[in-house]
Symmetry: D5
Subunit: 148 residues, 10 copies
C-alpha cells in the first residue's frame, strides 16, 4: 500500500460517509484543519492519537493507521505547472510576484528566507458585498543566511 492508495481510500470513505474535511479534521484533533487535511492528503504526519481517531472515523486498518503517522515523501501535484485552475492561481502568484516578494522581504529582513517549515497558515472567508473573498494568512519564521 502506497501513500497515494491510502489517500484514495480516505477520499472514498469521506465520500460514502458524506463527511467534510472540516468534520474529519475536527474529529481528529487539536491541530489546525489545514494541517490535518494536509496529512490526509499525504503531506503531513499525524501523531498516534490523531491517527487512531482518523482510523476509527474512516474505518482504516492497522497498517493504514500506522502509515498515517509516518513522515511522507511530500509533493501533492504532478510535475509541471498545476493544471487545476484553483491551484494554478497560486502558482501564478509565484510567477508574477516572486521577484517582488524577494525584493521586499529581503529589504526588510536582510538576506535569508521565509521558512516553509516553521510556518503556519489560516484560510478564512471574508464577507464582501461585491462577492466574498478568500483570505489566506501565512506566517513563516525569517531565517537569515548564516555567515560562517
Amino acid at each position: 500500500m502506497t501513500r497515494e492508495e491510502l489517500t484514495l481510500t480516505i477520499q472514498r470513505r469521506k465520500r460514502t460517509k458524506r463527511l467534510t474535511w472540516k468534520q474529519i479534521a475536527t474529529a481528529i484533533g487539536r491541530a489546525s484543519p489545514i494541517v490535518t487535511t494536509a496529512a490526509l492528503f499525504g503531506q503531513m504526519r499525524l501523531d498516534d492519537d490523531e491517527a487512531a481517531k482518523a482510523a476509527e472515523l474512516l474505518e482504516l486498518g492497522d497498517e493504514e493507521r500506522l502509515l498515517l503517522t509516518e513522515i511522507p515523501y511530500r509533493g501533492s501535484l504532478p510535475a509541471g505547472p498545476p493544471t487545476d485552475p484553483l491551484i494554478y492561481r497560486f502558482y501564478e502568484l509565484v510567477q508574477v510576484y516572486g521577484t517582488t516578494w524577494k525584493a521586499l522581504i529581503q529589504e526588510e529582513f536582510g538576506d535569508g528566507i521565509m521558512s516553509a517549515i516553521d510556518f503556519d497558515m489560516q484560510i478564512e472567508r471574508q464577507a464582501d458585498p461585491k462577492g466574498d473573498r478568500v483570505k489566506i494568512t501565512m506566517s513563516g519564521k525569517f531565517l537569515p543566511y548564516k555567515k560562517y
Copy 2:
C-alpha cells in the same frame, strides 16, 4: 528596449542612488508598495502620474516612462521551479499544500477559484522572541464556476 532591459536600468539607478524599493514606492504613489515594486519588476503597469514620478526619481527617458505605463507580458521567473531559495519556498508551499487549499476552499465556497486578479496582498514583519516572522496576508475574490 525590452521590459527586461528597463528592469535592469531601474535596478541600476536604484543601486547608484542608494534607494530602497520602499522609498521608491513611497515617492511614486498611493498604491501598495507591493504593486509598485511589482510594476518596477515589469509585472504590473503604473498609471501616467506614477510613471512620471518614477521617471523623475530614476532619471528615465520618455520611452522608458511610457513603457512603464504599458501592460507587461507577465512572468518574472525563468521556466521551471525557481532556483532562488526565498522564492522556491513559496513554490514548495504550492507543491505541499496545493491539494489542501483546493479541498478546503472549495468545501467552504463551492466550485470555483480564488482570483489572482481581483486580489490584494500585504507583507508585514511580525516580531517574535524566537525570531521575527514574515506575515503575508492575501485576499482574493472567490469566483464561482458559471453554470451555463
Copy 3:
C-alpha cells in the same frame, strides 16, 4: 476508484448502450451539453439531480454517482502540447494568436484578463457550401487587475 477510472466506465457504458454525448447530456439536465460532457470527462461537477440521472442512464453505482458531484482536479490532457490533432489546433491558436489576444483585449478593456471561470461557450455547425464550419463562441467576464 479514481476520476479517471470513472471516465473510462462512462465511456464504456456509452459505447455499449450506443449513446451519443448529446443524448446523455439531454437526459441529464438543463445545463449546456458542453458543461455536462465536460463533467462526464471529469472536468466539471454535476449537481445531485444531474448525477442521479446520469447514474440511472449509465448504470453507475452509488460511489460513482457521488464522485460525479465532487469537484474534480481539473486538467484533461497529458503533459506537454496535446498530440491529438483536433485538440492541438486549439493549442496552436494560443501559440499563434496569444500575444494578439492580449494586445487587443487589454487595449479594449484595460489591464486584466478574460475569466475562464465566469465563462460560457457554444459549439455550432455553420453550413457552408465550401465545407461546413465549426463555430465556437466564447464569452468570459472581463476581470480588471485590482489596484490596492
Copy 4:
C-alpha cells in the same frame, strides 16, 4: 534583423507615436484588426500594400517593410505553458475543455479537425451589468480525415 527585432521596433514606434493597435490596423488595411495585429507581432504576413502603409505609419525602412510581407516562422510565446495570466486562461481552456471539444465536434462532424488555417475570429465587447464580457467567436472549416 530578425522578426523578433522587428516586432520590438514596431512596439517602440507605437509607443512613442501613442498609437493603438486598432488605429494601426485601421490605417493599414481592410483585413480584420486581428489579422493585422497578428502580422505586426510576427505571426501573419501583410501584402505589399499593407506593408507599405505600415512602413509609412511606423517609419520603417525598406528591409523592415519587406520583412513584413514574408511568411513568418510562427509561434508567439516562449516554450511551456504561457506565464502571462490573460494568455494562460486560453491555455487553461484547452486543458479543461480539450477532450470535450473533441467529443462534441467529432460527434457532430465525424472524424476530422477544425482547421486553424481556414479560420477566422472576432473579438467583441459584450456589455453586461455585472461586468462587461469578452466575446470571442471562432469559425474554422471542418476538415474530415481523408480515407485512402
Copy 5:
C-alpha cells in the same frame, strides 16, 4: 478497457495467429493498408464493416469491436523525441529539413500549410543494387491561410 489495452490485445492475437499487418489489412477492407494498420494501432477509426471483419479475424469481443469504430485520441508515441531508431529518423528529417520544407512549400504555394488530415501516403520497396530503398510518397492538400 482503454485503446492502449485494445492495441495490446490486437498485437497478441496477431502474434499467436502468426498474421502480418498486411494480411490483416487485406482481410479488413478496401482502404490503404497504412490506414488500416494505423487504426489497429489506435490512430484511426474503422467503419462498422471493417471493424466487424477485424473482430472476426482477431477474435475480438463486442466492446472491442465498437471501440475500433470510435475516433481515438491520437498520438502513438511517448512524449519527447522518439527513442526507437526507425521512428527517430523521421523525427530527424523534421529537425534537419523543417525550415527547408517551409521555405520551399510556401515559396511555391503561398502562405499556408500541407494538410495532415486531407492527406494520403504510400510506402513502397524500391529495388536498388546498392541496397533496397524505402520509398514514401506523401500527398497533402495545400491549405492557404484564410484572410478575413
Copy 6:
C-alpha cells in the same frame, strides 16, 4: 560569426535582392534545390564551387563563403514540438503514423531503419481541382541491423 548569423545574412540578402530560394538554388549548382536550400539554412554543406557561386550571388565575404563549405551542427528548430503550423504538421505525422511506419517497413524489410543520410527527397505541386496538393517523395536506403 556563427552559422545562425550567416543564415540571417543570407535571408537579408535574399530579401533585398528579391530572390527566391529556387533562383538561388539554380544559380548555385546542380544539386537538388532542397539540398541547396537546406545548406543555406545551415543544415548541409556546399562544395567549394557552389559556395563560390553563392558568395558571388549573395555578396558574402571570404569567411562566410568558407563557412558555407563546413559541415554544420544540424538541427534547424528550437527544442520541443515545432510551433510553426507548416512544420508542425510533419511532426504530427510522426506522432500519428510513427508506429505504423515502423510496423509496415519492418514487416517488409526486416529489422533495420530507413536511412536519413543515404536519403533523397522531392517536393512537387500536384494539380487538383479540389485544391492543389503538396507531393513529397522520400527515398532512403534500408539499413538492416547488423548481427554480430
Copy 7:
C-alpha cells in the same frame, strides 16, 4: 503481455535459476553476448532458433517465445539523462566529447555519420596493475550524406 513484462519475467527466471547473462547468451546462440543480452532486455530480436533455446532455458511460454522474435520498440531507459551512475557515464561522454567526435570523424571521413545500425561492439576486461579497465570497442559503418 508487453515487452517490459517479458523482460521482468526473464530477469526473474535468471534470478531464481541463478544464471548469468553470459551463460544465457552462450546457451542461446552464436551471436555476440551483447546482442543476445540486448534482445533479452527488449532491444533486439532473436531469430526463431535462438528464441526457442531461450524459451527452453528460461521456461517461457509460446507467446513469450514469439514475442522474443518480434522487432521491439527500442529505448531501454526512462526519459531524461539516465540516473544510474554506470549508464550516466556514457551519457556524460556524449556531453563532453560529442562535438569532438563530430569534428574528428567528419574531418577524416567527410560529411556523414557513424551508423548505429550497421554496428558492432565488444566489451573486454583489460588487466591493469592500477586497477582493471573496461575496454569497449565500437565499429560502425561510415555513411556519407547522399548528394542528390
Copy 8:
C-alpha cells in the same frame, strides 16, 4: 570573454588559416588529438606549453591563452537529446544498449562503474570493402562501489 566566445574565435582562425583539427593538435602537443581537440572545444584544459603553442598558431591574445589553461565548465551540447545526426547516433547507443552495458560490465566486474575521468579513447578508420568503418576504442578504469 566566455569560453564559448573563445571556441568561436578558434573556429574562425582555423577556418581562415585553413587548418585541420589534426594539424592544430599535432602542432600543440603530445597528448592525443582527441584531448587537444576537446580542449579547443572548451571541454578540457591545455597546460601552459600547449596553450602557448595554440596561441601562437591561432593568433590568440594573452587572456585567451590563459583561458585555455583553465578548467572549463564541461558540457558541449544544448540541453535535450542532441539534434545533430552524427552525435545523436551515440546518444541512441546509450538509449538502446544502456541496460545491456550495465548488465554485462557489472556481471564481469561487480558493482561499480567505468570511469569517464580515468578514461582514454581512440578513433580510427577501418578500411572495409563494403564501406569504411569508424572504429572507436574506449578504455576506462573500473571503479568499484566502496563498501563502508
Copy 9:
C-alpha cells in the same frame, strides 16, 4: 516483482514490525547504516549474508532475498527537482554552491572530480543550544582527468 515493489514490501514490514532503519541496519550487517538503508531503498546491493539476515528479519521470500543481492538500476527520485522539502534542500545546495565547489576543489586538486563511487559518508546529530544540527561528512577519492 520489480525493485520498487520490493521496496514497498520492506517498508510495509518495517511498519507493521515497528522497526527503525537503524535497527534493521544493525541487524543486517557490519556496513554503515547509510549503505544498508540505501540498499533497502533499492540503491545499493547487499551481499549474500546481509540479504539472508534482511530476509529473515523482514520475512522476505527467496526471490526477494536474491533481488536484494542484485545491483539495482539506481536513482531513487522521480524526474525533475525533488518535491520533498528535506531532499530539495540538498538539491538547492548543488544549485547554489555547485560552481563554488568546482572552483575550490579543482583549485586544490587540479582537473578532475570527487568520486561518488569510491565514496563514504556519515550523518550525525550535533547538539547545539540554538537547536541541534545535522552534520554530514562526505569523503570521496579525487580522480584526476587522465591525460592520454
Copy 10:
C-alpha cells in the same frame, strides 16, 4: 550590468592577475573562503567592507562594488541536471542517497528538514596513500515542522 556579467568580469580579473580563489577570499575577509567564493560567483552577498576590498583587489568600479553587496537571485547552474562532471557527482548523490538521507535524518530528528540557510560547510584535502580524498563537512540546523 547583470550579476552574470559581473561574474564574468571577476573571472577575467582573476585570470589576468593570476590570482587563486583562496588568495582573493583571504584578501577580502574573515568569512569562510566558501562563502566568499560563492559571493564572487553571484550566490551570496558581501558586506560593505568586503566588497570594498574585493573592488580594490579586482579593480571593480563603483556600481560593480555595490552590486556585490546586493542579495543575488541565486542559482548558479543552467536548468536540468548539471552537465559538468564534478558538479554532476553531487547531483548523483542526491539521486542515489536522497531517500536514504530523508529516512535516517527524520528517524533521528523527527519530521523536519536540515536547513540550507542556517548552514555551514568545509572542504578539506584528506591525504590518502591510495589517492587523496575530498572531504566535505556540512552542518545545517534541523528545523522541525511547526504544528499549528
